[in-house]
């Protein structure tokens, strides 16, 4: 009896040792990445939160605690409330909608074998590799009010010449077009990869049942694509919301700060107007909006990451 017990004890301690080794290994795997996150992302975010709750100026080293005053100032700033917030949401929603619809369309268009298929895919791949700031230069030049090719083309068609970058909505449109150019191919290529491995039988069954092309798309293909599509849309939402590069190059937030998004607003508050408190408060508000959005989507994301990647 004594022997048996000691064997069990030995097994138990061995198991515990194995478990400890496994945990050590798991920690070892994440520690470098965790350190990078803590030092360069988590700590700065905490710092931003601290700044947003204090009155920080260059001249006064005291930095007194002011509670939510910076946030209140932010929301009583009519520019932030009436321009920056709507701009950010309009840009995010419009960009996402156009990129999604176009991305699906392009993927469906390319989902057949034809001569020159690989050339077209290569051409599509290219915009994704282009720096957003360079793409922005490209579109600023094409939509240049005097010499841009878009104006020239419109004029040749007998349409009125628009000075794109001197109006709020046309300037926003140019920024949205640049983003659509940069990111639609990403949607298209990931969706196409999923379409290429779509099992043909449900599609055929639907056709035999007399479904037309639209019905097949709506009831068979779209549900099949939805995991990949959801992840793409989630990722794009986060990235559209924080977009900075194109606005900076194309309009720098102008004319008269009317095309500013929250990233640009926060940047300018800090570096142009030295309002450290409200700049950081704005940046933190943006983070909170995305955090809440992210948390709402968390279950969807966690459920989808496993399955969808295999499809692509």
């Amino acid at each position: 009896m004594e022997n048996e017990l000691s064997v069990e004890q030995e097994l138990e301690s061995g198991r515990r040792k194995a478990l400890a080794a496994k945990h050590r290994f798991m920690w070892g795997l994440v520690i470098p990445a965790l350190l990078a996150l803590i030092v360069f992302e988590i700590y700065p975010v905490i710092q931003a939160a601290w700044t947003s709750l204090h009155k920080v100026t260059i001249f006064d080293p005291g930095r007194p605690f002011v509670g939510l005053q910076n946030y209140i100032r932010l929301f009583t700033d009519s520019h932030f409330f009436n321009t920056v917030i709507p701009n950010t949401f309009i840009f995010t929603i419009a960009g996402l909608a156009i990129e999604t619809v176009l991305g699906i369309s392009v993927a469906l268009l390319l989902n057949r074998s034809f001569r020159g298929e690989s050339i077209v895919t290569t051409l599509l791949l290219f915009p994704m590799m282009v720096a957003p700031s360079i793409a922005a230069i490209l579109f600023a030049w094409m939509f240049n009010s005097q010499f841009g090719i878009v104006g020239v083309a419109l004029e040749a068609l007998g349409l009125p010449v628009i000075s794109w970058l001197s109006g709020r909505w046309t300037a926003m449109l140019v920024i949205i077009i640049s983003d659509v150019w940069l990111w639609t191919p990403w949607f298209a290529i990931l969706l196409l990869a999923a379409l290429k491995v779509q099992p043909p039988s449900p599609v055929e069954a639907a056709k035999i049942d007399g479904a037309n092309a639209w019905q097949v798309f709506w009831h068979v293909t779209l549900p099949y694509l939805s995991p990949v599509l959801t992840i793409c849309m989630l990722i794009r939402t986060i990235d559209l919301f924080r977009q900075f590069d194109q606005t900076w190059v194309i309009t720098t937030g102008g004319p008269a700060r009317s095309s500013e998004f929250f990233s640009m607003y926060a940047y300018k508050e800090v570096f142009e107007y030295t309002n450290y408190g409200s700049g950081n408060a704005a940046a933190l508000m943006g983070a909170m909006v995305m955090l809440i959005f992210g948390l709402i989507m968390y279950r969807t994301f966690a459920r989808l990451t496993g399955g969808a990647k295999k499809a692509a």
């Binding site: 795997l29 988590i42 590799m129 720096a131 793409a135 990931l190 990869a193 990233s263 990451t305």
Partner: protein
């Protein structure tokens, strides 16, 4: 798995449908290629013709030479290349480990790490970029490689860990389990069995990671200045300084696009694997 392979050309198109489809393809190609074509054409025009790019008849390579000779341009290119290379080497190492942990293990620690990365992924750059400006100055690494490298590492951890996780989930764990039973250590299993199996994915992600760091603007703007000029910032400053000289702008933009062109042409087979950002 045979039935999963779609029958190629199952939706053969004829007549006007075929014409419509073809028109669609042409339109798509036009939309995505024309801006680049236009950039190249602008870059090849002499200064006198840049405002009439569509009507000009003269071509020149002067713009590339002038852009290249612009103050800080070569230095900025070199710095961006060094930063991108350092960033890629460091990030791929730490991100691969983090992805392995996410892809191979279960339990609280793993879920907590997944949650943390997910949250970090949602936080906009500007939120942590602003404090980093003061922080890097305090640490004395403002306007050096290290100052910009740090935030890039954090970005890569948040963005690429989940992609790496997918790589490991797509290979079977049985040989790793067998090696563990045979007494191989965890680290031995990781380096000798798991990593070699995902090398194509690592390669794809390295290309994307390199290009991302090369392309990035906001951190470069916030954290560097005259001592460590970076390419995107230098070119964007061009826009403000030289304003109207679009031929020169186009020339410098094309030089900045060279890595993107090379990677698209020669790495395209791999890249699609690493696109889940």
């Amino acid at each position: 798995m045979a039935e999963e392979i779609i029958v190629k050309g199952q939706l053969k198109l004829y007549g006007w449908r075929r014409a419509l489809w073809f028109a669609g393809i042409v339109l798509v190609c036009f939309f995505f290629v024309f801006p680049i074509f236009w950039l190249v054409l602008t870059a090849l025009r002499p200064e006198s013709e840049v405002f009439y790019v569509h009507r000009g008849t003269h071509f020149t390579l002067d713009n590339f030479i002038r852009a290249f000779d612009a103050p800080q341009f070569k230095e900025a290119m070199f710095n961006s290349a060094v930063l991108a290379t350092l960033g890629t080497l460091l990030s791929i190492g730490i991100t691969l480990q983090s992805g392995y942990m996410l892809g191979r293990f279960r339990g609280k620690l793993r879920n907590a790490w997944f949650g943390l990365i997910y949250i970090m992924r949602t936080i906009p750059y500007i939120t942590w970029g602003l404090p980093l400006y003061a922080m890097t100055q305090f640490l004395g690494i403002y306007d050096t490689y290290w100052g910009v490298l740090g935030p890039h590492l954090a970005v890569h951890v948040a963005f690429f860990s989940l992609v790496m996780k997918g790589f490991f989930e797509n290979i079977t764990a049985s040989s790793e389990e067998a090696a563990l039973v045979d007494g191989c250590s965890y680290w031995g299993v990781y380096f000798r069995i798991a990593v070699p199996q995902v090398l194509p994915g690592i390669f794809a992600l390295s290309l994307i990671c390199w290009l991302w760091t090369w392309n990035e603007l906001l951190f470069a703007m916030l954290l560097t200045s005259a001592d460590t000029p970076l390419l995107t910032v230098t070119i964007v400053q061009f826009v403000n300084e030289i304003g109207m000289e679009w031929n020169l702008m186009a020339g410098s933009a094309i030089i900045a696009l060279i890595p993107a062109i090379l990677i698209t042409l020669f790495g395209q087979k791999y890249i699609t694997k690493g696109l889940y950002m």
